[in-house]
């Protein structure tokens, strides 16, 4: 009898204590209403770190995509811009050639006029046409100088092109490596997601058994042996789930390693093929430049022709003609050099734009936009699954607590029962 009284008193005390801590559903300040702060429960979910990683990856990509140079252009836009650059380059070449040609003619005419005037003034018995004609014979020495200069220019160009070639191959290698990295990470994320899904499914399968065992363990008046048995059963469920997930993880790691090897082999092949193309383009560029240089040399030769001064003229006249020749030649070279520099500057700017476009091409083919949407989808799927699980758990808790309706995402509470802590504990214990 004494023990019965004790049990009665204990239960009554428990009931009173329980009532003192948690309001009842029919309390005027509850009226059958509960709520759960899902955002807080989410933070306790075993998959929250995975969700955060996905969100971070989305934010990082989002931040990068705000940059003007990183916005992936479409192939059509790149093609259009390349055409515009080509047109600008051709226009620049045409302008430079026309200006050079015009200057060459101007200087030649002015030099010839000056020679005629000098010869006439010297009283050498000629109108100056003959000396001019004679001076238009090509000087072998001058031709050699022009050729040497042209060769030096070509070698500088060649060094530049080869440096560009090396940079292009290096950039290609970086892009291909980045693609491998991206593909690998996508696959890893996919497998991780599947592992998470498996883990989630297993925990859902065992949820009722687990809940049942935990409810039994909540009973204070239980023999130690019985308690141990329930705890062992709980631990066994956890171990079984962990074993299945571990097995999947190991298998996934092997799959990933094989995938990485495959990607690397493919990348090496792609790199070799693409590098070959780049080298061919470089050779073509050099060949084209060689032709261009030959034309320029020919053009300059023509401009440099009036150098051989007729020997039958008086010494003073010959000196005068040599001075005129030197003066106009140096003026023309200085003037022409300016035009060539302007053209080179334009070409350098256009080259930079080409390089930028090629970078954008890589970014576009990298499909950053697709990666972003894939990540967003993965994140949303995972988030929805986690929230659904929380809602199911909150529903079970609500049913046990005798609530009529439970809300989520509330702004504030003037009453009601906050189920957040209870649900957090349940969710946390899913993978303990």
């Amino acid at each position: 009898m004494r023990s019965s009284k004790l049990a009665l008193l204990t239960l009554a005390a428990l009931a009173i204590a329980g009532c003192a801590h948690q309001p009842r559903p029919d309390d005027p300040n509850v009226r059958g209403i509960g709520y759960v702060r899902v955002d807080e429960v989410l933070k306790k979910h075993p998959l929250y770190s995975h969700l955060s990683q996905l969100q971070d990856a989305i934010d990082a990509l989002g931040l990068k995509s705000l940059g003007p140079s990183a916005v992936p252009r479409t192939q059509a836009q790149i093609a259009q811009q390349t055409r515009e650059l080509n047109r600008e380059l051709l226009q620049a070449q045409g302008r430079a050639n026309a200006i050079l040609h015009q200057k060459q003619q101007d200087y030649q005419q002015r030099e010839q006029a000056a020679i005629r005037a000098a010869v006439a003034a010297s009283g050498a018995g000629t109108n100056g046409t003959q000396p001019v004609q004679q001076m238009q014979n090509v000087s072998a020495q001058q031709a050699q100088q022009v050729t040497l200069q042209a060769n030096a220019d070509f070698q500088a160009y060649q060094r530049g092109v080869i440096a560009q070639d090396n940079a292009a191959v290096q950039q290609l290698q970086q892009q291909l490596n980045a693609r491998v990295d991206q593909a690998y990470r996508q696959r890893a994320t996919q497998l991780q997601e599947q592992e998470s899904q498996l883990s989630l499914e297993l925990s859902q399968q065992d949820a009722s058994r687990r809940l049942d065992l935990r409810m039994k363990l909540n009973n204070l008046a239980m023999a130690d042996a019985q308690r141990k048995q329930y705890r062992d059963q709980l631990a066994s469920i956890d171990q079984q789930e962990a074993a299945v997930v571990d097995a999947r993880r190991k298998s996934d790691q092997q799959t990933l390693q094989a995938y990485l090897n495959q990607l690397r082999t493919q990348t090496q092949k792609q790199l070799a093929t693409q590098a070959q193309k780049i080298h061919e383009q470089t050779r073509a560029k050099l060949a084209e430049r060689r032709n261009e240089v030959s034309q320029q040399v020919a053009s300059q030769m023509q401009g440099l022709q009036p150098a051989a001064i007729p020997s039958n003229l008086p010494a003073a006249t010959r000196d005068k003609l040599a001075q005129i020749d030197k003066q106009y030649k140096s003026q023309f070279q200085a003037d022409a050099q300016k035009t060539i520099q302007q053209y080179q500057q334009t070409k350098t700017d256009l080259d930079a734009q080409y390089a930028s476009l090629q970078g954008a091409d890589g970014a576009a083919s990298g499909a950053a936009g697709k990666q972003l949407s894939d990540l967003q989808r993965q994140r949303d799927d995972l988030y929805n699954k986690m929230v659904e699980q929380i809602k199911r758990d909150a529903g079970q808790v609500a049913a046990k607590r005798g609530l009529q309706v439970v809300f989520m995402n509330i702004e504030a509470a003037g009453g009601g029962i906050d189920l957040t802590n209870d649900v957090e504990k349940d969710i946390e214990s899913l993978h303990q």
Binding site: S4, G18, D56, G67, A394, G402, Q404, V405, A412, G414
Partner: protein
């Protein structure tokens, strides 16, 4: 059976039942209903109306593009954009307005007939409540006009606030503006740094983490105190008005008690 032993046993059992089975204590009925707005939006008449609006929009888009080409200044562009926006809204109102009105009347009628005090969006209900989606869909699909009840909905346990109006309280608006400016500056700075480190993914990662940390820390400093203050104010107003919960206005479809102005006053 020994009756002296049986009585304490029954008492224990009764108390245990009292403790472990609170389900029986809850009220049998709730005056909270909910509706699946997506399901209503998927009704054929809503889909047809949406298609009609979408077609109109595509027509407007081509006209808009051609008019924008002839715009000479920003003022011209703004004027054209405003005019097109207005035309689109008018069409939307013309096509969807009557349907929304019919759905709203149906919701009111179902609420009244089922003695519900408030109807909320399904997405915020985790458990319980009365699902009136099908009843409303039947009424919307049914023949004839839907007559809304003359009586206003009874007082509800659920209140709501219009967060967009709360955000206009001067000190909150100021804090939000300051934070947005700070976030914009931080983003521009991080972007510049990330572009400079474009060939170094590890450094980019570090820049991004630092950017996030700064943002989060400043958010806690600039906004969190106000968020807490607003939540407290809402809780106090809810208690004064005997409301159990406060939700966002956008989640309440029908009924409920609007406490926006009370919260605004409490925050001033």
């Amino acid at each position: 059976m020994n009756i002296r032993k049986t009585i304490p046993f029954l008492a224990c059992a009764a108390i245990a039942a009292f403790i472990f089975s609170p389900v029986a204590l809850g009220a049998d009925l709730t005056d909270v209903g909910f509706i699946d707005q997506a399901a209503i939006g998927a009704l054929p008449q809503f889909q047809q109306a949406n298609q009609q609006v979408a077609q109109y929009k595509s027509q407007l888009d081509s006209q808009f593009a051609s008019q924008m080409k002839s715009a000479h200044s920003n003022a011209d562009r703004q004027r054209i954009a405003g005019a097109f926006q207005q035309r689109f809204l008018n069409k939307q109102r013309e096509v969807l307005g009557p349907l929304f009105g019919r759905a709203q009347a149906a919701i009111a009628q179902v609420s009244s007939s089922q003695h519900l005090a408030v109807i909320v969006d399904k997405r915020i209900v985790v458990y319980g409540g009365v699902d009136i989606t099908k009843n409303v869909a039947d009424l919307v699909n049914g023949p004839g006009a839907v007559v809304p009840p003359t009586a206003t909905p009874p007082p509800a346990d659920v209140g709501f606030v219009d967060q967009s109006q709360i955000d206009q309280v001067p000190k909150i608006k100021q804090a939000n503006d300051n934070f947005l400016k700070y976030a914009g500056d931080q983003r521009a700075q991080a972007l510049k740094q990330m572009q400079a480190a474009k060939n170094n993914p590890q450094q980019q990662q570090s820049i991004f983490q630092s950017y996030q940390k700064n943002l989060s820390s400043q958010q806690d400093k600039m906004l969190k105190p106000l968020v807490d203050q607003t939540r407290d104010a809402m809780g106090k107003v809810a208690q004064q008005k005997h409301l159990i919960l406060v939700v966002d206005r956008s989640d309440v479809i029908y009924g409920g008690t609007d406490i926006t102005s009370d919260v605004q006053n409490a925050l001033k």
